[in-house]
Subunit: 757 residues, 2 copies
C-alpha cells in the first residue's frame, strides 16, 4: 500500500484523522513534543544508519510483500467444514513426497554440476599441461587464458540472456523472499537454468568463485518450482498441487530448498539445516526442521550415491562436492587457544575489510556499469584475463622445491593424493609451490592447504597466495557470472591460517599448521557472513571429526564479534544494494520512541461491504494499493468501521468472473459456480488485468458482495500502538497489510513493510 499516492474516491471515504481528537491519546499528554520531531520520513531503522539515496528509497517503496497469512474468508470456512482427516493426511503426505523429489533433484543437480566442472577443468588442464610438459611457456599460457576467457564469456553470456538474477550467489534474494519480500522472477525457471549453466562455466574458468552460494539459490528455485508445479507461460495449472500454491507453503519449500542446496554442495546435511535456521529463513517451525533435515539427507545421499556409483564399490562413505581426508590423531594444547583467538581476530578484520571493499566496489559497479551488458561482459573478461595472468605467472616468482623435501609423518593416516604437488615448469622431482595452489582446482588447493604435512609450503608463497586470493575474491564477487563466496573465503582463510601456523612453528614445537589452516578458514567465513553454528557444523562435517571443535568455535566467535564491530554481514549490505526491504527480527533501538501513527499511511482507501461495480472499478483504477479494508458504515453512516480486508488480486478475479451480488438486505448470497476450489484456483494464478475487462452498463450498475471473500481474521492494531510493538507483530506474523483502527474501530491507517523499513 503506497503511502498516500491517491486521494480516495468514494464519498464515504474522508480523512477522519481529526475526528477522534477529543479522545485521549497516550502519546500526547505533554503537548506536542512527539508530534513534531518525528516526521514520517525520518525513520531510520537499521542498526547502523545507512543513508539511502532518494532513488533507492523510492525503489524500496515500490517493492511488494508476499502474502503469508491465510485468507480466512467464508469460502475457506465452508471448505474447512467439509475437509476430513484424510484430506489433511493427504496434504501432509504430499509435502513429504515433494520433499523427497526436491532432495533427489537437488542432489542430481549437484552431481551434474560437479561432473561437468570436472570434465571442463580436466579438458582445460589437459590441453594446458600438454604444452607445460613440453616446456612451452607462451603456448601453455595462451591455451590457459583462451579457455578461461571462453568459459567466462559463455558464463557471462548466460547471465545476460537469463537476466542479472542468474549472477552472483543469489543468497540475498532468497533471504529477502523468505522474509516476505516479493523479488520478481528470482526463483523463476530462467534464473534457475541460467544460474546452473553460468555456475558450471565460471567455476571451471579459474575465477575466484565457489559453487555453494549458487547451489543455495538453485535449491530454493527448485523448491519453489516443484512445490508450485505450474507454469504461467504455458497456462499449466494442475489441481494436484493446488493446496500448496500459496506464498506460505511456497516459503517453507524455499527454506527447505536453500538448506538442501547447501547440504548437497558441501555434503553436510546438518550444516544445511542450520544454515536455513540461522541465516536465510525468517520464519521457522519445528515441523520444518524435521522436513528440512529429511530433504537435506536425501540430497546429500543422492549426490554421494551418484558420485560413488553402486557397482564399483559396495562400501559407502559420505562425501560432498568438497571433502577433505583430515587427520585425526593430533591434539592441541591449551596454550594454542590463544593463537586460535588471534586467527579469529584476523578473520574478523579481513572479513570486515572484505565486506567494506566488496560493497563499495559493487556500488561503483552499479553507478558506472549499470545494467549495460557490454560493459558487464567486458569487465568479466578483463577480470578473467588478470586472474589468468596472475595465477599463471605468479608461480615463476619463487624457486622450485624438491618433492623429496616433503616428509609425511608416520602417525598420520592421510589420503596420500593430497600431497601430490604440481610440477608446472619445474624440473622432474621438483614442484612449484604457488603453482600447486593457484594452477589447478580450488578443491585441490584447499586439500593441500589442509594437509598434515608441515613442510609442504614455505612462508613467502603462502603470503602471496593469501593476498592474491583475497584480492581476486573481492574483485570477482559481483561480476555478472554465477558464483559464491564460500570456497574463495575458505582459501583465503586457509592461506593465512597455515601461514600463521607455520610462522609460530618456528618458535614452538609440535605445531600442526593444518589445524591453523582449518581454523583460519572458519574464521574467515564467520568474518564475512557472520554465521556461527552453521559454519562450525559445516567445518565439522567437511573434516569428519569433532576434535577441533573448540578451536573452530573460538575463532568463529571472535571473528564474528570483531566483524560486527565494523559492519554488518555481506548479505545485509547486498540486500540493501539490491533494494530488498528486509525486516530484521527486532526493530532497531532508535525506533523506540516512534508511534505507529507517525509512520502509517494515513490515506487508506476502503471499500464498503457491498460495493457497486462502477465504484469498485473506479477505485481500483485510481490507485495501486494491493489491499483494501472492507468497512461497514455503521448506524451513523459516515463511519467506516473495520470488518475485514480484501486483496486487489481477489477483487480482480471476482470482477473477471462477474461474481455479482443478487441478494437483498443483509443476507449473504454465495455464487454456486464460484466455490472455494474455483476461488483458490483462480486467485493462485496471475490475476486478469482490469483494463481488459469490459463491463456493460448493466454490469457496472450491479453490486459485488465482498463479505464472503474478504479475510475476516485479518490482524489489526489500535492507533495507540508503538512502532516497536507493531513491528514485532508485523514481523512475527509475517503480515503484508496491517490496518490501524481507532477507538471507534474506524480505519485510520495502514501499515505495510515500507512503513516499517
Amino acid at each position: 500500500m503506497g503511502s498516500s499516492l491517491n486521494k480516495p474516491l468514494s464519498d464515504r471515504v474522508e480523512d477522519i484523522n481529526n475526528q477522534s481528537s477529543m479522545i485521549y491519546d497516550p502519546w500526547r499528554h505533554r503537548g506536542d513534543v512527539n508530534s513534531t520531531y518525528h516526521s514520517s520520513s525520518s525513520v531510520t531503522h537499521r542498526r547502523r544508519n545507512h543513508r539511502l539515496s532518494p532513488l533507492e528509497k523510492q525503489k524500496m517503496k515500490n517493492i511488494q510483500s508476499l502474502n503469508f497469512s491465510v485468507n480466512d474468508n467464508l469460502l475457506q470456512r465452508e471448505e474447512y467444514e467439509k475437509t476430513t482427516k484424510g484430506l489433511h493426511l493427504k496434504k501432509t503426505f504430499g509435502k513429504w513426497i515433494i520433499c523427497l523429489f526436491l532432495g533427489v533433484i537437488v542432489g542430481c543437480i549437484a552431481y551434474v554440476i560437479k561432473m561437468v566442472v570436472q570434465l571442463l577443468q580436466g579438458l582445460k588442464f589437459h590441453y594446458t599441461n600438454h604444452y607445460v610438459s613440453n616446456g612451452l611457456q607462451g603456448e601453455a599460457f595462451l591455451t590457459f587464458l583462451g579457455i578461461n576467457l571462453l568459459f567466462v564469456f559463455l558464463s557471462c553470456l548466460m547471465v545476460i540472456v537469463a537476466g542479472p538474477l542468474a549472477s552472483s550467489s543469489g543468497i540475498p534474494e532468497v533471504k529477502g523472499i523468505l522474509n516476505g519480500v516479493k523479488v520478481r522472477e528470482a526463483l523463476g525457471f530462467r534464473a534457475l537454468l541460467g544460474k546452473i549453466v553460468s555456475l558450471v562455466l565460471s567455476f571451471s574458468s579459474g575465477l575466484f568463485v565457489g559453487p555453494e552460494g549458487p547451489m543455495i539459490h538453485i535449491g530454493s528455485a527448485v523448491g519453489a518450482a516443484i512445490s508450485q508445479f505450474k507454469s504461467s507461460t504455458m497456462g499449466f495449472y494442475p489441481s494436484l498441487f493446488l493446496s500448496y500454491r500459496n506464498d506460505r507453503d511456497k516459503r517453507d519449500f524455499i527454506s527447505i530448498g536453500a538448506a538442501t542446496g547447501l547440504a548437497a554442495a558441501f555434503g553436510a546435511p546438518i550444516g544445511g539445516v542450520l544454515f536455513s535456521i540461522e541465516e536465510v529463513s525468517s520464519f521457522w517451525s519445528r515441523q520444518l526442521t524435521w522436513r528440512t533435515f529429511f530433504t537435506c539427507v536425501i540430497a546429500a545421499f543422492t549426490t554421494n550415491f551418484l558420485l560413488q556409483g553402486i557397482g564399483s564399490s559396495p562400501d559407502m562413505h559420505d562425501t560432498g562436492l568438497l571433502t577433505f581426508g583430515f587427520s585425526r590423531l593430533y591434539l592441541f594444547r591449551y596454550s594454542e587457544l590463544l593463537c586460535f583467538c588471534f586467527l579469529g581476530l584476523i578473520g574478523g578484520l579481513l572479513g570486515a575489510f572484505f565486506v567494506f571493499l566488496n560493497i563499495h566496489l559493487n556500488k561503483w559497479r552499479k553507478e558506472k556499469l549499470k545494467q549495460n551488458p557490454y560493459l558487464r561482459l567486458f569487465e568479466a573478461l578483463f577480470v578473467s584475463v588478470v586472474t589468468s595472468v596472475v595465477c599463471y605467472y605468479a608461480s615463476f616468482i619463487f624457486d622450485c622445491r624438491y618433492q623429496s623435501n616433503i616428509v609425511i609423518e608416520t602417525s598420520v593416516c592421510e589420503d596420500q593424493s593430497n600431497t601430490e604437488m604440481v610440477q608446472f615448469f619445474c624440473p622432474d622431482g621438483m614442484y612449484s609451490e604457488l603453482g600447486s595452489l593457484l594452477f589447478g582446482n580450488p578443491d585441490q588447493a584447499l586439500r593441500r592447504l589442509y594437509s598434515r604435512t608441515n613442510n609442504m609450503f614455505t612462508l613467502p608463497p603462502l603470503l602471496v597466495f593469501t593476498l592474491i586470493s583475497l584480492f581476486f575474491s573481492i574483485w570477482s564477487s559481483g561480476l555478472w557470472v554465477a558464483g559464491g563466496l564460500f570456497v574463495p573465503m575458505m582459501m583465503v582463510g586457509a592461506g593465512f591460517g597455515r601461514l600463521f601456523g607455520q610462522t609460530i612453528s618456528m618458535w614452538f614445537t609440535n605445531i600442526d599448521s593444518s589445524i591453523y589452516a582449518l581454523v583460519g578458514s572458519a574464521a574467515m567465513m564467520a568474518g564475512y557472513c557472520r554465521m556461527t553454528v552453521c559454519i562450525v557444523v559445516i567445518m565439522v562435517e567437511l573434516t569428519e571429526g569433532t576434535q577441533y571443535l573448540v578451536p573452530i568455535i573460538l575463532a568463529v566467535m571472535i571473528s564474528k564479534w570483531v566483524g560486527d564491530f565494523f559492519n554488518e554481514s555481506v548479505y545485509e549490505h547486498l540486500m540493501e544494494q539490491k533494494s530488498i526491504p528486509f525486516l530484521q527480527s527486532k526493530p532497531p533501538h532508535s525506533t523506540n520512541n516512534i508511534r505507529i501513527s507517525d509512520v502509517m499511511s494515513k490515506n487508506v482507501v476502503v471499500l464498503p461491504e457491498v460495493c457497486q461495480v462502477r465504484l469498485l472499478v473506479n477505485i481500483l483504477n485510481s490507485n495501486n494499493h494491493n489491499a483494501f479494508p472492507v468497512i461497514n458504515s455503521g448506524p451513523y453512516d459516515n463511519q467506516r468501521l473495520y470488518r475485514g480486508i480484501i486483496l486487489r488480486d481477489h477483487i480482480l478475479v471476482l470482477l473477471f468472473y462477474r461474481v455479482f451480488y443478487r441478494g437483498t438486505g443483509e443476507e449473504i448470497y454465495l455464487d454456486e459456480n464460484f466455490d472455494f476450489d474455483k476461488f483458490t484456483t483462480e486467485t493462485s494464478k496471475s490475476p486478469p488485468p482490469l483494463s481488459e475487462m469490459n463491463f456493460d452498463q448493466f454490469e457496472l450498475d450491479s453490486f459485488i458482495d465482498l463479505r464472503p471473500y474478504m479475510n475476516s481474521s485479518g490482524v489489526t492494531i489500535h492507533n495507540t500502538f508503538s512502532f516497536v510493538e507493531a513491528y514485532k507483530l508485523f514481523r512475527n506474523m509475517g503480515l503484508r497489510h496491517l490496518p490501524v483502527i481507532d477507538i471507534n474501530n474506524e480505519v485510520v491507517g495502514m501499515v505495510t513493510r515500507n512503513d516499517l523499513f
Copy 2:
C-alpha cells in the same frame, strides 16, 4: 482470566452480546448451523483426542500464563525517550556476561556431579568387590544392596524435602515454562538444589536413570536464577539486574540454560543448541542461537577443562560426561542400510511401547500413590531392591567366558580400556558377560556395547540385558528420584542394536556390530522422545565421527515415523499428566471450523480509564482475573470501548503505593514519586496482597488513573476471527491475554491459554 467465574460489578459492565446482533456476522449467514453444534466445552484440540477428566480439566484451567509481552505504557515510553545508545549496549553486554557466568556455573555443576558420582560409585564397587574377590556371594550382595538402598533412600528423601519438582527429568516443566505456562517453583532454588543432590545419589545407586534430563532442568534453573538474581524470601532485589527481570528475558535465559545443561552433560555444544531449538523452546530468535551457542561452548569447555586439569596434560580433547572412543576406519555397505532401517523400525516400536507403558504406569502412580511420601519412598526402595537383585543375580544365569576369547582387530586404534571386562565371580582369566553390562557404571556398559571387538558378547546375554534394561527403564522413570531417560534408552538401544548386528553377522561377513549398537541407540532415543536433528548431532558429537551419519539419520527418521504412528513423544504425554497446558505451534485440524467467539470467555470484567478506588477494590476482590481491559465509555456512555489492558499485579502495586489521581478532566497526571524505575522495580516483585491494604474512607473515595500504566500496545482481535487464526496469533506472539472486540471496538470477550488449549 478464568471463564465467567464471577459476574462483573461495575454498572457499566453488562452483557452486550446481543447488542451487535443486527450486524453481519460472517459465520452466521446460513441460520444457526454453527452456533448450535459447537459448544464451548467441546473444543478438543490435541492431535490425538486425549480425554481429560473433569478434575484434570479444572486443574489446567487454574494454571496461569507467563507474561512475554512488553508492557508498553506511558512510563515505558517516557523511559525510551531518555535511553541512550549506551544503555542499550550495556544491556546487551550484560546479557553476554550473564551467559558467560551461566556457562561456567553449569559447567562446574556438571563437573561436580560427575566427580561425586564417580566417588560414590567407586566407594560402592570398592566395598562390594572386596567381598566379590573373596568369593563371598552373600556378603557382596548385601553390601551392594545396602549401599544402593541407602543412596535411593537419601535421593528420595531429597525429593520429599525439596518437593516433587526435584524428581524425574524436569524437561516437561521446562518445556511448559518456555511455552508460557507458569509452573510454580519449578525453577526455584529448592528444586535446583534438591535435584542436584537427588541426581547424584540416584545415578550412583544403580537405578536405570541418567543424568542428562536433570542436567537440562538444572541448567534452566541456573539460567533463571542468574538472570533474575533476586530472592523473594530474602527480599533481595538488586537494581543491576532490573532490566532482565521480566518473563521475556527470563525465558531466553531459561532456553539458553536448557541447552547448556545438555551441552555440559554430553559434552555436545551443537547438540545442546539444537535440543533447545528443536525440543524445549517455543520461541526462538537468531540472536538466541548465537548466545546459546556461546554459552554451550563455555559450559562444555569448563567441564572438559576441569576434568582434565591444566597441570597433568597440556594437550586438550573435548570430552563430556559420556564419551566413547569410537573407531573410525570401518565403512559399511549399501546393503546394510536395509538393516539400519530395520533397527529404526524396532527403535520406533520399542519407543512407542515405552511411552505407552510409562504413561500408564505414571497414571497408576498418580491415582494410587498420589503425593504420599511414605508410599513414594517405599516404591523407590522396592524398585531399588528388585533392580539390585536382578542386576546382581542375572550374571549367574550364563557361564563365564575366557578373556582370551576377545580378539582385538588390528585395524582398530581403539581405547583398550573399553575391552576390560568384569570378572565378577568368574575364575581368573574369565569374565561374566552380563556382569560386565549390569554390574558397573552405565558409562562402562555403554562403552563395552559400542566396542569394536565383535566377539565380546554372545547373543543370549545381550537379549537378557536388553529386556532387563527396557523393563527397569520403564519402571524407574517416574519414581520420586531425579533421573533422566537418555542413558537408559541408549543402553536399551545399544543392546538390541548389537544383538541384531551380531545375529546377522552369522550369515553375512564383515558386519561391525558396534555400528549397529550406535544406530540402535539413536533409534531408541528417537523412538521415545521424537527428536531428530538433535539426536543425530549428539550421536556424532559423542562418537567424534561423521562417518555413520547416514545410518544414524536413516534409523532416527524411521524410528520417529513409526513412533508417531502410535503415540506422541513422552514429553507431550507427561506435560498432559502434569496439567501443563502446552500450546503446540499449530492448532489441531479438528479446530478448523470453530470460531473464536465460541471459545472466548464472554463475561469480561473491564475497568474504566479513571476508576474509583472503592470500585476497583471491589472488582479485584470479586474475581480472580489476572488482567482487565481498560475501557472508555465513549460518547454514548453505555459503551465499553477498548483502550488498553492492565494486569492485576500492576493495579495492586498502584493501590499499595496509593498512586491516586489528582488531576481533572482528560488531563493526565503522573505521580512524581512513581516513575518508570519505581514501577518496574515494584512490579517485578511479588505484588502485595489486597487483603493487607487498609484504605480509609478518603482513599476509597479517591480515583486511580489507569491510563499511564495500562498497556496501550496490547494485541486485540475482532470477534469475526476464526479459532485457528486467533490461536496462531496468540501462540506466535506469546500472549497471555487477547481481548476480543466487536464492530464498535467494544470488548466482548477475552481469550487466554485455557480457552485455546
